[in-house]
């Protein structure tokens, strides 16, 4: 009993805080893929930029809350410009799967080096805006992690409502289902594409800001993190929102609980093994694609 209370429970809560951030990343990836058919290889870099934008805003004297509010807006702008100026150019070619993947990979390389150029390669620390811990059931949980969990859950619900319960979301789903038909109904499909990409990038940025106080901020911080997000998206089903949420929470829990028993360095191989097993059983992932299910 003690073990459950003092070892397992904190681990689950820690895992949940990371989990919602992973889900935010995975949601961005999966929405971008579901609508645009684009594997965003630069997603990890956008996550890192989110954290650095927050660092820069904090450095400019703003509070963490302002940084948290402004970063997604700036990231959306960056995403919108990236889509319109670069991805649009190869989007209509026959090999757009490969070309967009390569293009975003190139964008990632450039962005990462820009971060190194501007901020240096050394890790930076961000102070958590909420300190202290809350006592629950005889246990102490860091307040900031509870906050991350709460806000993350709110954002996830908001994304769900936006995609499935608003006319804006209907446009996105319609465009994912049948681009031509949607365009002929008067939806500005190209702008929907750019906006969706921007939205996914903004989610990666939020994830970066939220995790900045938990981890340190460095130019390659997105690399390992994006691998988890990719596994989540593959397992949950490329383009599935439900899949990203469920697989994201499940996988981070598995990773966090397994670290009690095995060395954390085996966490990634474990996730990957699960991914391979799921793919053997269901190559399309657990859930169907956006606009198709």
């Amino acid at each position: 009993m003690d073990w459950i209370q003092f070892v397992l429970a904190p681990q689950i809560v820690n895992g949940l805080a990371i989990g919602v951030a992973v889900v935010l990343m995975a949601l961005g990836l999966t929405i971008i893929f579901g609508l645009l058919d684009v594997i965003n290889m630069a997603h990890g870099e956008f996550y890192a930029i989110g954290a650095y934008v927050a660092v820069a805003l904090l450095g400019a004297g703003l509070t963490f809350w302002w940084a948290l509010a402004l970063t997604p807006l700036l990231m959306a702008l960056i995403g919108y410009v990236t889509e319109r100026s670069l991805i649009q150019r190869v989007f209509h070619s026959k090999d757009r799967h490969t070309l967009t993947l390569l293009l975003t990979f190139g964008i990632g390389i450039v962005l990462e080096d820009i971060l190194k150029l501007v901020f240096g390669a050394n890790p930076l620390r961000v102070e958590a805006p909420i300190s202290g811990a809350t006592e629950m059931l005889g246990l102490f949980f860091p307040n900031y992690r509870l906050f991350v969990m709460g806000l993350g859950a709110l954002i996830i619900i908001a994304v769900w409502v936006l995609v499935f319960r608003t006319s804006l979301g209907a446009m996105v789903r319609a465009a994912a289902f049948d681009r031509q038909m949607t365009a002929s109904l008067g939806v500005p499909v190209n702008r929907v594409y750019a906006a969706t990409f921007a939205f996914g990038v903004a989610l990666a940025g939020v994830s970066g800001v939220l995790l900045a106080p938990i981890y340190s901020v460095f130019p390659t911080m997105g690399r390992d993190f994006v691998l988890i997000a990719f596994s989540v998206v593959i397992i949950g089903g490329m383009g599935s929102i439900k899949g990203a949420v469920i697989a994201g929470l499940l996988l981070t829990q598995i990773q966090s609980i397994s670290s009690l028993f095995i060395s954390p360095v085996w966490g990634d191989p474990l996730l990957f093994g699960i991914m391979v097993l799921v793919l053997m059983w269901r190559p399309q992932g657990l859930f169907g694609r956006l606009g198709h299910a």
Partner: protein
């Protein structure tokens, strides 16, 4: 349907052969000049470019022929390097034994990796190959017996033949050049065989291939194992040149650079990746001597090629060259087709 005198999947074959001759000719000229001057640095750099050209060749076999984009080819490159380093350090100083053991290991890991990755198609394949490499590199990064994050240093020179060892800049350059030539010529020949056609057919229309009684899965697996072997042999040469191995050899940077070399050089041309590797290795070294941020330059170049020149440098040069070669003979026989150009 359409007349194709060139037999290399829509690429003007004669122009590519000519460009291949030019590449290996230029490499020999470089060797003579560098040898006369008594240079070491550029020999080493050139050898490294050739080694990474081998890796790029293996990427092109998958990407250019079967349409599978490998984002983790460094896995097999690094595997070859580690195996070769271990053999040279602990077992034998023979170049041939190191290469042979590395080859066997890459074939086995290629088979295992292929069984995992080939199940998936398109972007899934790309991501799984990426994940495979990431996971194995992490494991090696954390294995103390393999030197963990430091890798292994002090790999002894390999004995290639009496009086010839990997420590001699000119000699080793020529050895690596010969190996690359054998790999290239072997692949170029293979592409003309029925098996080579099957590879192209996998990319064009996998379903139709199975209607013809060919198992596309087996074809792809064969290509994957073949690419793993080429990458492994190239990797095995690395510790002979540099005297060390490190987990970085398996990192995404290496896989990514190989893909960049292929795309910039020209996908599906086989010779393009060699040009791409030579060009970009030199560019990285030159820009790198001015600034630590050479990745920006390479990245922007890569983005430009993907957007403006998706066929790559050789993909651009070859058709024009083919026309010239044809005109010299008085007739242009080949309507050059790009309809099924690989990307």
């Amino acid at each position: 349907m359409h007349e194709v005198t060139s037999r290399s999947l829509g690429h003007p074959a004669r122009a590519l052969h000519w460009l291949a001759g030019l590449f290996f000719g230029l490499a020999l000229v470089f060797a003579i000049v560098a040898w006369t001057v008594g240079d070491v640095f550029f020999f080493r750099l050139g050898t490294e470019a050739l080694i990474f050209a081998g890796l790029a060749l293996s990427v092109d076999l998958l990407l250019g022929r079967t349409g599978l984009l490998p984002l983790g080819q460094a896995l097999f490159f690094g595997m070859g390097a580690y195996v070769s380093a271990l053999v040279l350090k602990n077992w034998s100083s023979s170049f041939w034994i190191a290469i042979a053991v590395a080859l066997v290991f890459s074939a086995i890991t290629g088979l295992i990796g292929g069984l995992i990755a080939i199940r998936s198609k398109g972007v899934y394949f790309a991501l799984i190959s990426f994940g495979l490499a990431q996971v194995v590199s992490k494991i090696i990064f954390n294995t103390r017996e393999l030197g963990a994050s430091d890798g292994m240093i002090g790999v002894p020179v390999a004995q290639i033949a009496p009086g010839l060892e990997s420590g001699q800049p000119a000699g080793f350059f020529l050895v690596v050049l010969s190996i690359l030539f054998i790999l290239y010529a072997g692949l170029a020949y293979l592409m003309e065989t029925p098996f080579g056609r099957q590879l192209g057919a996998v990319r064009t229309n996998e379903q139709r291939l199975s209607f013809l009684g060919v198992d596309p899965w087996r074809t792809k697996l064969a290509a994957f194992v073949g690419a793993a072997c080429i990458a492994g042999v190239s990797g095995a040469l690395y510790p002979m040149l540099r005297g060390f191995v490190s987990p970085e050899l398996m990192f995404f940077q290496v896989s990514g650079n190989a893909v960049i070399n292929v795309i910039v050089g020209g996908t599906g041309t086989l010779i393009g990746p060699l040009y791409g590797s030579a060009l970009l290795t030199v560019l990285r070294s030159v820009v790198g001597s001015y600034t630590a941020h050479h990745q920006i330059v390479i990245g922007i170049l890569f983005i430009l090629v993907v957007i403006v020149l998706p066929r790559g440098l050789i993909g651009l040069a070859a058709p024009a060259l083919q026309e010239r070669l044809g005109r010299r003979e008085g007739a242009v026989r080949t309507p050059i087709l790009h309809a099924d150009h690989p990307q």
